[in-house]
């Protein structure tokens, strides 16, 4: 009899994220794992000083975010599909805000046995470790897997 493990996986649209999930599934996944897929989208940038073009400015922003939320949900479902051939429980967590803080909160809430992150996400810079992964690595009370996407030679 084994306890169900909670595995929290940070998901974004990058190839690093998809690769992290594939790697986790082929190397560390155990039957009956609960996979908590977390995506954090940020608010579309609203300029700090701007005269709204119309009184419906606020509603317009809400429409834009609704589109983003829908895309995020689709992304999470797609990633969850990677586990359809195995015995896994998938939880989709769709969050809005600063990725670092929201993932940190999700870790506090779910208390996972492992956090899975890609080495980089949306950061275009060619650093070895993106800012969100770096932050989570330094602030997580639970083990963190930093997976690496093999670089083309």
């Amino acid at each position: 009899m084994s306890n169900q493990r909670n595995i929290l996986i940070a998901v974004d649209e990058s190839q690093h994220s998809a690769h992290a999930i594939d790697w986790f599934k082929s190397h560390l996944f155990k039957e009956n794992d609960k996979i908590i897929l977390v995506n954090v989208r940020s608010l579309r940038h609203i300029p700090s000083v701007r005269i709204p073009e119309s009184p419906d400015f606020v509603n317009h922003w809400a429409e834009i975010d609704a589109e983003d939320a829908k895309k995020a949900k689709e992304l999470l479902t797609d990633m969850g599909q990677k586990f359809k051939d195995v015995n896994a429980t998938i939880v989709e967590v769709n969050m809005l805000g600063d990725a670092r803080q929201e993932i940190e909160k999700a870790i506090e809430g779910w208390k996972p046995d492992l956090v899975v992150m890609g080495s980089r996400g949306q950061t275009g810079l060619k650093r070895m470790l993106g800012s969100v992964s770096e932050y989570i690595l330094h602030h997580s009370p639970v083990p963190v897997l930093i997976s690496r996407t093999p670089q083309p030679l």
Binding site: L28, L114, L129, H139, V142, P143, L145, R148
Partner: protein
């Protein structure tokens, strides 16, 4: 001015303390740097509980012992012989730690190699691991260093930034 015990600082130390049986053909290699610290022990436990499949995996344990040197804080230079004795003590301690840890893995029927290295932990581990090309590295977040405010110590931080393989960092206060 510092003096070191080693005559040839060019040669890398690579003491094999424990090996796997020749007939064992592992499909995966999991590398675990150890230093006797709390988070190092947690990394070992986590590895056994969560990631090792005894039929297909070999574990490679690494320990890096530092090079003893007299520091400017000492009122006098340590005599050359004392440095050699100290170096020998560090070597023995490293081997003992590795053998003890290897025994722990063997008690779980996990095949295990153990290698003692010498020098700067960050450099030696990066060099050795880049040659080993393991499937996974599992490391404690903090070692025996004095700066306890940092959640992630300098060695694990270095490894996460410089290795090309996946790394699991296991925190010190893991329950």
């Amino acid at each position: 001015m510092t003096a070191t015990a080693s005559e040839n600082t060019q040669e890398r130390v690579n003491d094999i303390v424990h090996s796997v049986p020749e007939e064992f053909n592992p499909k995966r290699t999991i590398c675990i740097p150890v230093d006797g610290s709390v988070s190092s022990k947690k990394a070992v436990d986590w590895a056994i509980n969560h990631s090792i499949c005894k039929e297909t995996d070999q574990v490679v344990l690494l320990n890096v012992r530092e090079v003893p040197h007299s520091s400017y804080t000492y009122p006098y230079l340590l005599a050359h012989e004392s440095l050699i004795q100290l170096d020998h003590k560090l070597r023995t301690a490293s081997h003992e730690l590795l053998q003890e840890t290897a025994k722990h893995f063997l008690s779980h029927q996990i095949h295990c190699r153990a290698v003692s290295l010498r020098g700067d932990p960050r450099e030696e581990l990066e060099f050795k691991i880049s040659h080993l090309k393991p499937d996974l590295v599992i490391v404690g977040s903090r070692g025996l260093g004095p700066v306890s405010k940092l959640l992630v110590g300098s060695v694990s931080n270095h490894l996460v930034h410089h290795l090309h393989c996946p790394v699991v960092v296991v925190p010190e206060h893991l329950s």
